[in-house]
Amino acid sequence: MLKVSNLSHDYEGKGKFVVKDISFEINRGEIFGFLGPSGAGKSTVQNIMTGLLKLQAGTVTYNGKSITNISKSFYNRIGVSFEQPNLYPELTGEENLRYFAGLFGVPTTRPAELLEKVGLRGSAKKKAGDYSKGMKQRLVFARALLNNPEYLFLDEPTSGLDPSVAAKICELISEEKKKGKVIFITTHNMELADRLCDRVAFLDGGIIRAMDTPYNLKLRFGSQTVKLTYRGDMKEELFDINNEREKLIAAIAKKEVSTIHTSEATLEDIFIKITGRGLAS
């Protein structure tokens, strides 16, 4: 289990905390989504969890062992996919994977197998510098899986991918979940979070504003509505199922209804409702 407690970070040491009092835990076989707009502090938290940034306040523990006491061999057990594709552009996709595979002290997955999984088999011999942004993103994702890690950190894993490739990556992430891995995703893609994550946390201004399963958040903060479209003038009308049930029944009985649609709030709607701002900002 991965546990983060009361984590705060101040880059300048002047009391201006980028993230403040962050606490959550992720169990085996769970995908935890950290959602928020750019600059919310998502990457800062991930960098502290992976040891890239120094832990200033709070605790981060892996199965009870603090990040401050772990040895370098611990990195055999984690996989990190960065948002910025940090690869050797002069090396081919396969060479990049082979190089990084050589850094681990545990058996690694064959580069060809991983390239096949992420749909880059045909470009294995092509220089990474000639890859498109989406291809680089997939290669970085494949690199994170090289050592079959117990803990997987994915920073914007579907950024720059077309929908079909993004779906493929989501499928692979779900497969990793089934293997019992602890998966931490930072993203501002609410659709991805809704589709993949067992639990999500909304991060805004460096603090967690809400944390729960997507379903519970929708239930708690969203409203379930039914949209009616009438024949003739094609006028639309929205009804809240919980508060306007009788009004809805009456409308269906009295007017000639063309279409009926149920709709529920998206995570983005809820985020806006809670924070007062959208994810793109």
Binding site: Y11, E12, G13, N47, I48, T50, G51, L52, L53, K54, L55, Q56, K72, S73, F74, Y75, N76, I78, V80, F82, Q84, N86, L87, Y88, P89, E90, L91, E95, R98, Y99, F100, G102, L103, F104, G105, R143
Partner: protein, 323 residues
């Protein structure tokens, strides 16, 4: 070990595709051509000093005995020691050719053909090498400084700029693997360069074993120097300025070899100073390991290795306070 070899192989692939490697290869070819075809075998530019024993030459350094005179000459390549026995003048020289010696002594004799022809070499040098060949150690030293400082530094800086160091930081190898893989690779490249220059200028008539060992040590030394400095640099422009400074300060020492009179105390503190004289001995001296140059250079390399490890560990690979 496997990790180090894999990193070396990857770095080798990267450096082959880097322009700096080809600049240093071009420089290598230029050196070989210059030494063989453009530098003269003899030069009058060098100034030689004269000391004597019992010759009654006022204003010149005087030795108390022939043994003392021999010792003075042994310590100074550019010194001619003269003494007279049974009416015959003998010139003691260490590393000067007959022509240079004649030129150096001509002012004491009315005619040049009166200059003593009795030459006695001190034990340091068997045969003085021609001027152009004696410039080879200068060129080899210059190439070692450039290759060492530039190649590892440029790879390190590129890795930092591309964020690859971040990926390395979340993998098991520590600073030792990182530093060793780069140091070994670039020292091998540096050794190959030095050997090629030596081969095409002085031929096989050098002390090959000590020469290769020395080349490896000095290449490692300057690779470590370049890496240690590069840890702290973020932009290519700052890096280039610093590298130019490092190369410049180390090459200033090379003048001390060509013109002994410009040898200043600060130069002797720099590793390039013992390096160039150690190269000279391994190429032209009677014993490849003579002198304390090897020891000093090994100490420099060991010290820089520790310093580089500390810098890479704490500055590059340890969790940062800020990104």
């Amino acid at each position: 070990m496997k990790t180090i070899l894999i990193q070396m192989a990857a770095d080798a692939r990267l450096i082959i595709k880097n322009i700096f490697l080809w600049i240093t290869v071009g420089f290598l070819v230029l050196i070989i051509i210059t030494v063989n075809f453009f530098l003269p075998e003899e030069t009058a530019v060098e100034t030689v000093a004269v000391a004597h024993y019992g010759m009654g030459l006022p204003g010149l350094p005087k030795a108390e005995s022939i043994e003392a005179l021999t010792e003075m000459v042994r310590k100074d390549d550019k010194l001619i020691g003269i003494y007279e026995t049974n009416g015959e003048v003998t010139a003691l020289v260490n590393n000067l050719s007959e022509k240079q010696t004649r030129a150096g002594l001509s002012r004491f004799f009315e005619k040049e053909n009166q200059v003593p022809v009795n030459y006695s070499y001190t034990s340091e040098v068997i045969e003085p090498a021609p001027f152009n060949k004696r410039m080879a150690p200068v060129m080899i030293s210059l190439e070692a400084v450039m290759t060492g400082i530039l190649l590892a530094g440029v790879i390190m800086l590129t890795e930092k700029e591309r964020g690859i160091t971040r990926a390395y930081r979340v993998s098991p190898p520590g600073a030792a693997g990182y530093v060793l893989s780069k140091t070994i690779l670039f020292s091998l490249i540096g050794t190959a360069y030095s050997f090629l220059i030596a081969l095409f200028t002085a031929g096989f008539d050098i002390h090959i074993g000590p020469f290769l060992l020395l080349s490896f040590i000095v290449s490692a030394l300057f690779t470590l120097m370049g890496m240690t400095v590069s840890v702290f640099i973020k932009s290519i422009s700052t890096w280039l300025m610093l590298m130019a400074f490092l190369i410049g300060i180390n090459t200033v020492v090379l003048f001390a070899y060509i013109f002994p009179s410009v040898s200043m105390d600060f130069m002797k503190v720099l590793p390039a100073y013992p390096m160039i004289f150690a190269f000279e001995r391994t190429m032209f001296g009677p014993a490849g390991y003579s002198g304390n140059g090897f020891g000093v250079l090994t100490l420099w390399t060991a010290g820089l290795f520790i310093l580089c490890l500390i810098c890479v560990h704490f500055r590059l690979l340890k969790p940062h306070k800020g990104e």
